[in-house]
């Protein structure tokens, strides 16, 4: 069984790590002092259980749980018992530890996790695209995850090592590639019409020769992408 620890307090991470070290066959793969780095890690690696602090500045443990589409088993840790009820609303959360965590309580928790893993195979977070949720996309800007609804997005433009996501009211510069974000977007809604542009198909106002009008944006259509665009139009 492997795990990661997410807690903004180094002392809390050290306590959990020490308790984990006493459990046979439990390996700590990584420790994080914030939830966003934890999400990035889960996009690349499968794990069995997360020890997750609820109360972290900016992006809380509950935000974290809501962000994951297929979360592994989660043990919430906190200093506040008042959050316990909220945490049990999530299926992935198998236990709730109040700090400072005692050895006896931790042993019970591990038993619960093991029972839970035996009863139901792990649905660990998987790789590319695994953590986009329903009709939302989370983008990482200045260590904050910002939720965008697909239908808010007008178009996405490649800008060197970044992409610029345009919505009705705002623009977001995100450090990623057009290819990566394209893989996370629903095909029925988004279409790449140029090597530098992906558009929200439902936002097209009109099409003129080599360009598409989306809100006030004129977006070029490349010759190679034009046939696919035309194929998807409901032409009279």
């Amino acid at each position: 069984m492997n795990c990661i620890i997410i807690d903004d307090e180094a002392a809390a991470r050290a306590i959990i790590a020490q308790l984990c070290s006493e459990v046979p066959d439990l390996d700590i793969i990584e420790q994080f002092d914030n939830a966003i780095d934890g999400i990035k890690f889960l996009n690349q690696q499968t794990i069995d259980v997360i020890f997750l602090d609820i109360h972290m500045p900016g992006f809380t443990g509950i935000d974290f749980v809501e962000t994951l589409k297929n979360p592994p088993k989660i043990v919430m840790t906190t200093s506040d018992t008042e959050f316990a009820i909220a945490s049990y609303e999530y299926e992935a959360i198998v236990d709730y530890l109040v700090k400072p965590i005692t050895r006896e309580r931790f042993e019970k928790c591990i038993q619960k996790v093991q029972n839970s893993l035996t009863a139901q195979p792990t649905q660990a977070a998987n790789g590319e695209g695994g953590n986009t949720v329903g009709e939302d996309l989370y983008i990482n800007i200045d260590r904050r995850l910002i939720k965008l609804k697909y239908d808010e997005i007008l178009l996405i433009e490649a800008k060197g090592d970044y992409i610029n996501i345009k919505t009705e009211n705002q623009e977001y510069l995100v450090h990623t590639t057009l290819k990566k974000i394209h893989a996370k977007l629903p095909e029925e809604l988004f279409l790449q019409i140029h090597r530098s542009y992906i558009i929200n198909f439902s936002k097209i106002i009109d099409i003129e020769d080599n360009s598409v009008l989306i809100a006030k944006n004129v977006v070029p259509i490349s010759r190679s992408n034009r046939p696919e665009l035309m194929r998807r139009l409901n032409l009279l």
């Binding site: 903004d8 307090e9 180094a10 002392a11 809390a12 050290a14 306590i15 020490q18 308790l19 109360h55 500045p57 200093s79 506040d80 700090k99 400072p100 005692t102 050895r103």
Partner: protein
């Protein structure tokens, strides 16, 4: 008068592992002063949200050091700060000052 801290929890957790004990005390010594400084800055700037976040973090350490009454004070102070009230900052500052002194002795 501020209650005394102890290392019972840490000793129990270490279970004779001297290296972990030392490492953990090192973390407390390393992490606590910056949290105390952040709390003091937040209070002086009346930034109660930041103060509340910091008290939340520090109260775990207070608990780890076996200071039950001080922990109860931290819980009340945190709740009040969340409401924009700062009535307990003087009393809480005494607890922080005491812990800062205590950590220098271990």
């Amino acid at each position: 008068m501020t209650e005394e801290a102890n290392l019972d929890y840490i000793d129990n957790l270490a279970g004779g592992d001297a290296s972990f004990r030392q490492q953990f005390i090192g973390i407390l010594k390393d992490e606590f002063p910056s949290e105390k400084a952040l709390y003091e800055k937040s209070i002086s700037e009346e930034s109660y949200r930041m103060a509340y976040e910091t008290v939340h973090k520090v109260k775990h350490k207070i608990n780890v050091l076996g200071m039950e009454r001080s922990h109860a004070l931290a819980v009340r102070h945190e709740a009040e700060l969340r409401e924009g009230l700062c009535n307990l900052s003087g009393e809480f500052q005494e607890v922080l000052n005491y812990i800062a002194s205590y950590l220098k002795t271990i």
